[in-house]
Amino acid sequence: MKKTITLKVNGETFNLDVEDRRTLAEVIREDLHLLGTHMICEKGECGACTVIMDGLAINSCLVLAADANGKEIETIEGLAQGFELHPIQKNFVEKGAVQCGMCTSGMIMTAKAFLQKKPHPDEEEVRHAIAGNFCRCTGYVRIVDAVLSSASELKES
């Protein structure tokens, strides 16, 4: 059955007719064509599809699009201001936290929601925050580094 929903995504409002069985991740990718939200496991085990919904980092593959009706969603595409990267993105670039890039969007969105709640984390807290985000390339070393550097930068600004 189709449902009419309203999503506010990266500040823009979308009115959509979606099948009620479809997930938010599918609608973000297939209907809104925001392909920066990646899917690796499609069942909430890898964190690749993490977006921020009303301030909370969520696995968008575990949320039905219909249940996101009226919510405010932030995806990776919403972070940079024009060509100016968000500080977390900048740190991922500078610290070498990116390899294949499939986990990167989810990592950055997880980090953003986390740092909003916990602006002064220690390394252990960062590791816990990203524990649900799978990466096969980096051993997480530089990702943890990038999140910690972002924290100190965001704190200063």
Partner: protein, 750 residues
């Protein structure tokens, strides 16, 4: 040491910005408005004869556009043994073997149709372990291959039996490593699209797009010029996207031709875990003769590789792992017997390290057992026997550069080897291991080449387009190749656009594999850049009426050596050269075949790892406290990228050591095919990692570089089990080292 502007500098990746913004497009992202989705029917049985296939119900399902079976895919293929077929008509040899394929308007309809295909089977006895498959009377999996041994690669140098008879000690131990998945974040995926000019465009997540073109041109009997293979950003590969062809690829190509519409196939995560080619199971027996002075007198490896239903890379991997083991130490007497064995499990493939991680594990773990037994320091034991530059190995390999001893000394010093072993803490232990891996590969079972190609085009504004078929899989090759071109041409990196992954515009390539891209792909880029540089200097010399030998390229300009006030921008030179009478483009290509004729590789990278582990005696749980890694990578072109390879390699190596194992149920079907029960290590499991880069300036690699991607992993499980022994007093010979195994071994010891 020469002074370089770009080489040796840690620079951000050239593709980092488009990856952190989500703009980078992968093959999984490709969609066309009229695209169909494909699904495979896979065998539920591990070994069976196919009696009848009925696709009629599937064909009638609304939304289904075509159904194909083996009749439509009359191709045989394989890596060394042509024993595979895309879709099987007569027999299936593992759970998941493909039988039919459907193209439909969406994924759900395709899946529904697949479930409507009826297959009658006659189930055959199946075998799920290589030792069982080698027993007399075991089921025959491929007709004519009695005993299921598909290949017997071997090496022999000297007389090991004589050496054993004359040694102070002889040890023999058996080890086993399980099948492991690559777990590529981007699964195997492809889209085939034919147009009405008869041209095929094939989008595929691949480490070897040019080989995919060669393969499909052969299968379809088409000119290579009519096939365009495109590889976008690749979401990880780790060996699984090299020489292997996959049923989904054939199915998409044939179904697209049949329907006239683009057809996409993508492994589900479950398929990806089991059917994207695994690291093979190995059972390895090592017999070692050694004298009281620590000198290894002889070593005999018997390595049994479980290929699964098809040989795939099994024969070449079993061979290369034996050749490489022979390069690690100064073996006076060396014997290696490899067995590539069919069983009814999903087949394996190239997995980071190409069989070297399991064979090294057996050799290095046993060396630590021997050290403990005869009371010698495992570090000293290695230094006593280590290979050095200039050696020719027992397997005939010339070692031109070698930092093995230095790597061992560095990791020992950094982790505090001597002090910590003198004052051990309860339940804590240190382990050490070392290894060697190739930089590119040349094997008797493969075409006799190890080449890369590159093409440089200088634009009117002095910027450069560099094309290559070295694919950036995430390892950072595009950044390194851009650094190399920038260094030679004296052009800023951001003025160079390095393009890969389109067979229509990029030159050929022998694959982004075998840790070969920086050294060998980089050499093609270096030589093409040198050629373009010489053209620029010649043209500038003509314009300035100065001998080109007195000119140099620097900061996007041609300068007169010693008199930088006279200069031309590269743009001015390019335009002068192009628009004058009888003008020419500044353009250069290079084909570089690494000098490894008669050798398995042109260069060998060495490395060592030291690991500190704590074991909980109550639960058998292990906690890695620290990993120190030293890698002889010849030269680090991008040190930060090299360290990233080491960190990722250690992560995968610790997974192999402690948690990762593909498990099958008693019928040979999937038992663990999701992240919850195939345990990849999380950020909470990872210890601090200290990478140390050892530079030996190899004489044949680009700027002295050798490979690192695979060596980064090798030795991790070996050092880990030895650390567990030091902490808990037990040797675990069968990976992964689970708490259960440790606890049981500790109990058995009491």
């Amino acid at each position: 040491m020469e002074h370089f502007k770009y080489v040796g500098k840690s620079v951000p990746r050239v593709d980092a910005n488009v990856k952190v913004t989500g703009e980078a497009r992968y093959t999984v992202d490709i969609a066309f408005p009229n695209m169909l989705w494909g699904k495979l029917l896979r065998s539920p049985l591990a070994h069976a004869r196919i009696l009848h296939i009925d696709t009629s119900k599937a064909e009638k399902l609304p939304g289904v556009k075509a159904v194909i079976t083996g009749k439509d895919t009359p191709f045989t293929y394989g890596v060394t043994h042509m024993d595979q077929k895309p879709l099987h008509m007569n027999k299936v040899r593992h759970v998941g073997d493909a039988i039919a394929a459907v193209a439909a308007v969406d994924e759900e309809t395709a899946q529904e149709a697949v479930e409507l295909i009826k297959v009658d089977y006659e189930e055959l006895p199946a075998v799920f372990h290589p030792l069982d498959a080698m027993l007399p009377g075991a089921p025959v999996i491929h007709e004519g291959v009695e005993g299921n041994v598909a290949a017997r690669p071997s090496y022999e140098n000297g007389d090991v039996e004589k050496a054993f008879a004359e040694s102070d000690y002889v040890f023999e131990d058996t080890f086993e490593t399980p099948p492991i998945a690559h777990v590529c974040p981007e699964p195997h995926v492809c889209v085939a699209k034919w147009d009405h000019s008869g041209k095929l465009t094939f989008y595929v997540s691949s480490q070897m797009p040019s080989l995919a073109r060669t393969h499909f041109a052969n299968f379809l009997k088409m000119p290579e010029s009519r096939i365009r293979v495109i590889t976008n950003y690749v979401g990880g590969a780790f060996g699984s996207k090299t020489l292997s062809r996959f049923p989904i690829e054939f199915a998409s190509v044939i179904l697209s031709r049949k329907t006239g519409r683009p057809v996409k196939f993508q492994h589900t995560r479950e398929e990806e875990f089991h059917y994207s080619t695994l690291q093979f199971r190995f059972v390895i027996t090592v017999k070692t003769g050694i004298n009281k002075d620590g000198i290894i007198t002889g070593r005999h490896f018997k390595a049994i590789c479980e290929c699964g239903g098809y040989v795939s890379h099994g024969a070449s991997i079993t061979s290369v792992a034996g050749a490489l083991q022979g390069v690690l130490y100064r073996y006076k007497n060396y014997k290696y017997d490899g067995y590539a064995v069919y069983t009814n499990v999903p087949y394996g493939g190239a997995w980071r390290g190409l069989g070297n991680p399991p064979v090294h594990f057996a050799g290095e773990a046993q060396l630590n057992m021997i050290a403990a037994e005869i009371g010698v320091d495992p570090l000293e034991l290695r230094l006593t026997n280590a290979t050095h530059a200039g050696d020719t190995s027992a397997t005939g390999a010339l070692v031109r550069s070698c930092g093995l001893s230095k790597c061992l000394e560095k990791v020992a010093e950094e982790i505090g080897w001597k002090e910590k072993r003198t004052n051990p803490r309860p339940n804590h232990g240190l382990g050490i291991a070392c290894g060697v891996h190739f930089t590119g590969i040349r094997l008797p079972t493969m075409p006799d080449t190890d080449f890369a190609e590159a093409k440089i085009m200088v634009n009117d504004d002095g910027s450069v387009n560099l094309t290559t078929s070295c694919v950036d899989l995430g390892q950072g090759s595009n950044t390194v190749l851009t650094q190399i071109a920038a260094e030679v041409l004296g052009i800023d990196m951001d003025r160079i656009n390095t393009i890969y992954g389109d067979t229509e515009t990029c030159p050929m390539e022998w694959g982004t594999r075998a840790s070969r891209v920086t050294a060998i792909g980089g050499m093609a880029v270096k030589k093409a850049s040198e050629n373009a540089r010489d053209q620029i200097l010649r043209a500038a010399g003509e314009k300035l009426e100065i001998n080109p030998d007195d000119l140099e390229l620097k900061d996007n300009k041609v300068l007169v050596k010693g008199n930088p006030s006279i200069h031309m921008s590269i743009s001015e030179v390019a335009r002068f050269n192009r628009y004058r009478e009888n003008g020419q483009a500044i353009m250069a290509t290079n084909h570089w075949d690494a000098p490894s004729h008669g050798n398995i590789s042109s260069a060998f990278s060495f490395g060592a790892k030291a690991i500190e582990v704590e074991v909980d005696p109550g639960t058998g749980r292990t906690k890695v406290l620290r990993v120190v890694v030293a890698n002889d990578l010849g030269r680090a072109i991008n040190p930060a990228g090299a360290c990233g390879q080491i960190e990722g390699g250690v992560h995968m190596g610790l997974g192999m050591a402690s948690t990762e194992e593909i498990m099958l149920n008693e019928k040979g079907g999937m038992a663990n095919n999701q992240f919850l029960d195939y345990r990849v290590l999380t950020p909470l499991d990872m210890p601090p990692i200290t990478p140390i880069l050892v530079e030996t300036n190899d004489p044949v690699g680009a700027f002295g570089a050798k490979g690192i991607g695979e060596m980064a992993l090798i030795g991790t499980p070996d050092a880990f089990v030895s650390a567990v022994h030091a902490a808990a007093g037990v040797w675990i010979r069968k990976l992964p080292v689970t708490p259960e195994k440790v606890l049981l071994a500790m109990k058995a010891k009491k």
